[in-house]
Each structure stands twice: as structure tokens, then as C-alpha cells.
Amino acid sequence: MPVAMTVNGRIVTLDLDPATPLLWALREQLALTGTKYGCGIAQCGACTVHLDGRPVRACVTPVSACVGKQVTTIEGLGTPDKPHPVQRAWAGIGVPQCGYCQSGQIMSAAALLAATPNPTDADIDRAMAGNLCRCGTYNRIRAAIHQAAESMSDEKAPA
């Protein structure tokens, strides 16, 4: 059954079971493999993407819930030439170790900063609680979120 949605600004029509989780549609049909499978039950956050700007776990979000909506994945957050400030902070601080969870971490962090431009540590704890990192990069994730918040507020400030 055809299902239409917008993924990273492009309208796509997928022919699949509408119960299929968005995660597998992204990875297998659209070759957007930056979004990762980690648990399948919304416990680890490795599959976090934005649905109409809000963070969702793609492993438990059926494509039927995405019809007519905007999906943004890590590949659509920034471009190689113009990475999102969160991505710049991630690379600048050197957050990733194995890197597998980091797409999900970055998508959660970007959603946090869109809603809360200057988050406290408690805000970060809350927003990032659903994203596991087995390498233990949490302290650098926190530092990178603060740094991204700062650079985003600098960019908004009048020159």
C-alpha cells in the first residue's frame, strides 16, 4: 500500500505495509542508514528522528503515522558544507567514540535546542534520558549541547 511523506525535504512514496516502523523504511527502502537500530522498543534512542520537528523513536513509529508529515533524519539535519550547530559542536569537542548512538543523540539534542535554546543541565538530563551511549560519552554530549546553544545564540545575535 503506497504511503507518502516528506523525508529530508523530499516527497517520497513507499509501497509497504503501513504498520512497518519508520526505522526500517528509512534504512532499507530509502538507504538512509544514519538512523540506527538498537533495541526496537524505544529504550535506547539510536533511531531518533524528527517528525514535524519533534523527536520520535523511529523503531516504534509506524509509517502510517507519518503520512503527509515531515520526517528529518541525521542526513537531513545539516549538509556537509553547512552542518547543524549541534553537529559542529559534536565534531569540535570530539564526542563520538564508536559513534553508533550519536545520530540519535544529535537528533535529540537538536530537538531540545529548538524548543529550549538555552538548556540547563536538568533540561539536558530530561531531554537526553532516552538516549543510551555504551561508550559513556555523556559528559562530552552535555558539553557539546551547551556549546551548540552558545553558538546558536551567537548566530541569532545581530552582527
Binding site: I74, P80, G94, C98, Q102, N131
Partner: protein
Amino acid sequence: MSAVLQTRRQFLKVTTAAGGGLLVGFWLPASEAASVQGRPWTTPPEGAEVNAWLAIDPDGNVTVRVPHTEMGQGALTSVSMMIAEELHVDWTRIRAVFADANRHLRNNNEYETMFTAGSALVRRQHPHIMQAGASARERLKEAAARAWGVDRGQVHASLGTLRAGNFSGTYAEFAGAAAKIALPEEPAIRKPGEWWLLGKPLQRLDVEVKSNGSATYAIDTQLPGMLYAAVQASPVPWGTLQAYDDSAVKGRPGIHAVIALRARPGKHENSDLQDCLAVVADSWWMARNALGEIKTSWNDEKTGPRSNEAERAEAQRLLGQPGDVIAEGDDTLAAIEAAANVVRADYERPWETHVRMEPINATVSVTPERVDVWSPTQDQSVALQLAADQAGRDPKDVYVHTAFLGGGFGGNGGGGTGVTRQATELSKQLGRPVKVIWSREEDIAQDKQRPPNYVRLAAALGERGLPSAWFTRSCWFVPEGTERVGPATSHIAMSDMPYAVPNRLHESISAMTHIPVATHRAPGTNQNGFMTECFADEVAIAGGWDPLDWRIELTKGKADWQLVLKTLKEKAGFRTDLPKGQGMGVAIVEDHGSICGACATVRVSPAGELKVEKVVIVIDSGHVINPHNAAEQLEGGVAWELTHAWLGGLELKDGGFAGMNFDRYPLLRMHQMPKVEVHFALSGGAKWGGIGEPAGPPVPPAVANAIFYATGKRIRSTPFRNHDLSWS
């Protein structure tokens, strides 16, 4: 110093310029991953190859071929730094790619090893890696010397340029000639005092691709015509598949096959294949759902203990008997019997699993011409051999494509399970590429686990309240026939603890389990360190000592232990007089050649809620080649063992670990991560210790010792979450 990575656009430009040749570098973008398939593995057109480790292109860019796997420990960066140090090139000119395991095999192991484990990359392998860079540099100099008619000794190599008198040229000009030169004698590698690049805090080369989704892992492999498989082995490991009923899913659109795979114990300890059922489909989600609808029955009667309780009872029984004597003191037991003041305690640690964030998977393409393998293995050579063995093919026709690993942590990164055999067998039978992904539940149930151990300790107190005799009896659960190595080593951080005690006796006992076991980041020390270092606090406090001063007293004459302990004392501000509900604890453990001390600060609410506020780490690894990466590894080590000690503990139930996910095996989350402060106390000289593993082992005892000061409660088992920490 800026990180060097090509952007995707640059990457595309480079490949095109090179005539469309296949660049199997780690920066291969996900969407182009399909291009990997269908073409032979070729050495990328990187310019002139000086030796197996490096090639130099006409613009002076140096491609370093890294034989190690990158699982987050920084291998790409560390190997490149060591090569750049010796070759003497601008760091921004360095590009890193993964080396070719097939070439390694064909050319008689020319990378020495393609097995990445044991915190060994820098510690053990820096001599031959640096040698490759030094050799290339000297051969470039010799090539220039011959062209210019001067002696090699007159040629200077610096930042990509060769000079002698009025002559000068680039490395690139002489790279082709250098490759043909044989040196009469290989040059010596630089000593730490002579380093110009090593020792600097450089950013890792792979952070950018790991921040934009383009880093490809084995699980991201996409090949034309590829099918997806979900698999299930016996809920009780090594059970045999008796029967299955697939009538509910047979003929369903999108389902290609339901195949029973039969057990095949491997020739290598890492290559076992168990009985399992596979569903192969057009999509993994489809395969997984169908697998869940198939009724299976398994024969799993022959097992060891089938629950935590049964295991504990067996351990208690065995601990009541003498074990094999590993380290004998003269009269330890007699001294303890005779002593007026004896401290006794039993400690235990439970099963733990790896749960690398990338679930265990493999993609294999078996064709009449060749076999291609993508697997999250820490040992590409083993992956190659077992794919060859399963496919019945000459290993020389097998190509293992190294991808990033979504975590390694031992057990061969999950590639050491039967998954590569599963994918090989399915591809062989179906004639198409097959990607096998273990669901997270299968990953937990069928991973090779870290085994539990139980330890009985006793110490007699003598003069000045210091121990006069120290007895340990250690019981580890290991599968029958498994050597007591790696995961189940009883002596490390136990009988070889650093404390001077006149009478020592250590005994070891093997208990049997049917659960497969494997190494688990800092194997052995991660468990024994907890027992030894918590008991050390018990003995110190019973003797009236400050636990940190006690450790300094009992390691007198051991300069490196003293250095770490005294640095810890200076940096951490350890004290035992904090108000109730707050506590500090220390511990020190040697692992993979490094001595690592930890001081933890905790807060425990009257209701028993634990908060680990801060962990100070002091390490003596002898040398550090990249303090930035080292600090990250040490922070990660803290999180690793804090996770298991506080939250972990895999529950053995009905003979296995079936049906478990992160809801039942919780990991440390953002709000639980303590602040971590890292200090290097390097003794230098001939000492080269590891960095990736040693920071974990001292953390659980430091936290447990801190909990004692906060609450008065002595914790002798993990996870801490199972203990009532309330106080009033």
C-alpha cells in the same frame, strides 16, 4: 591542530579524479555503500605505495592503511599518528583507510596482526607500526640520495620535503623509487623524548563522519539483491532444534525461506555456530515478525545451573572445599586460624553482557567467484577464515570489508559469535547476499557473556593493625572444556594484588556452566578488582587505618603504585569525615599494564537513592600518545564498569537469558553519569600500558567504598541497585 577528514564532496571528487577506482575508505557515505558490491576489492588508487602501511599521492597526501578495527578506541587516529610521527608529514596531509584482510592473508600477514584487543594497539604494537613509518622515511631519503648523488645521511626529511644541500624534492616525487629500495638495516624508531607529534592532544579523525550519519557500520551494508534474515537459537544456549512449524508464514509475500541451521562447533574458539532457525525475507522487520510466529521446540536438558539461585548454591558448595592452589604462602591458613582478629567476607559478581549499541550482525555474499563479508568483528582474519570454512572455499577468495564497529568491548566485537557462519550459510544456500541481524533480544540471549564469580576472603590483622595473612578462594563459572583464560582468570587483581602481606594463599575453583563466555572490557580485573579493593577497605578500616594511607603503606617500594596513589591523594582530596549521606572511596587496580586509581564521591539520600557525583581517575600507562583520546577512553571506562556495578546483572532464568532488552538490562543514562576528572601520572621508561580498559576496574570498588562511608553499609555484590542503601 585541526581534524582531517574529507567532506563527502571532496571524497566524491577524489574518487572521480582517480578514475572511478574503488576507495574502500571509512568515509564511504552510506548512500554509496552499494557501490562496494560487485566490484573486486582493489587497493585504492592512493598514489605510490611505499610499503603496505602507506601510500603517497602526487599532491603529497599520505594514505595510512590501518589494519586494526575502529570500535571507538581511536585506532584510525592512533595508527596514523604513529606513522606520521616517523614519516614526518603534516598531520593535515594524513588520510586513514582500513587495510585489506585478504591482502594480509595473501602476503603472509604483512600487517603482523589484524586482531584488535587487549588494549594492545599502542602498548604492544607501537614498535612495528612506527617501524613502518620510519622505514618509509629512510627509503624516501635513500631514493633522493641516489638521485642527487649524495649520502643518505645528508638528506633531511621534514614535513613532506626532502633536502640535501641545494637539492630538494617532495616525498611524492620519490615515493615510487622508495618502494623498490631495500635498506641494509632498518632504522630505529623514535624514543618518547624525541617525539614531535606523538603526545599532543589531537582530535580524532572520525568524529565528523560520526556526527553526520555517514559513517558506515557492518549493519548498514546494502547490496543489490540482498535479503534480510532474522534468526533464533535455543533460549537455552546450545539446545538442539527438535521441531518447528512454519505453516503460518509459509508462502507469505516477501518471505523467501525458513531455514534450519545446524550446530557447527568452530575450529576457533570464536566461531561456534549453534542450532538456529532463520527466516529470510525482503525486509528485516518482515523476517523478524514471521520468526516470532513460528513455533519451535528445543532439546536443552543437558545444562549447568539454570538460575542465579542455583548458581549461587553451587558456588557456595564449591567454596566450602579446597581449590587448586595458585599462589601459596607458607602458613596462611594457620596464621588466620591463630589470629585474634580476622576479617572474613564473601563477594560475588553476576553475569554481564556486552550489548554493543550495534546489535550483532553480518552480511555475506557468496558467489561462484568470491565471498564477501561485512561483520562487526574485532578480528578480520578470523571472520575471513570462518566464512571460508562455512562456505567451503579457499580463504584466498574471501574478502572481509572492515566497517566501523558500533562498540567492541571484547568477545570479538560480536563477530566472534556464529553470526558470520549464519550469513555465509544462508547466502550459500540462497545464492544471494544475506544480511543477518540479531534482534536486541537475540543479541542478549546468544552473546558470549561475562561469567559470574564468587570469592571467599579472609585476612588476619597483625602488628599496627596491618594484615599478617591474606586468603582468597575464587570460584568462576566457565563452560566445560573452556580454558580458564581471559574472562575467567582468577589470579589477576587478586593473588597478584600489590599489597605486602607476609602470608598469602590463593585458590581457584572451576564451576561448570553451559553459557558461552568471552572477554568483556578489562576481563577478570573488572570483577576481581571489586573484590580485592572492597575487601582491602574492610581490612584497612578494621585495622584502624585510613584506606588511602593503608594502600600507600602497603605498596612501599613499588614506585609506580606509589606515584598513582600519591597523585590520587593530592588531586582527589579524599577524606573519611564527610557528613552522613556523603562519602568518598578509593581503589586501585592494575590492568593491561597500566595502574589506575579512582576516587569516587557519592551522595545517598536517607531513602537510599544513590548519586555518584564525581570520579577522579589517575593512571600510569607509562606513556600517552594522544592525551585527548586517552581521556575519552578513560571516561568511557568509568561509565562501562559503573554501569555494571550499579545497574547491571544479567538474570539467568530457565537456563538462559531469553526475551531481554534494555528494559531488563538497564545501562547508565545521562543523568547517572558522574563528573570525571582524569590525571596522568606517567612513570615513562620501558613501561607501556593500555588505556582502553584500565579505568573500569577501580570504579566499582571506589563507589562501594564511598557508599560505606555515606551509609555505613558494606556492599559485597553487584548491582548496587539490588541493595537497600537507606539510612537514618
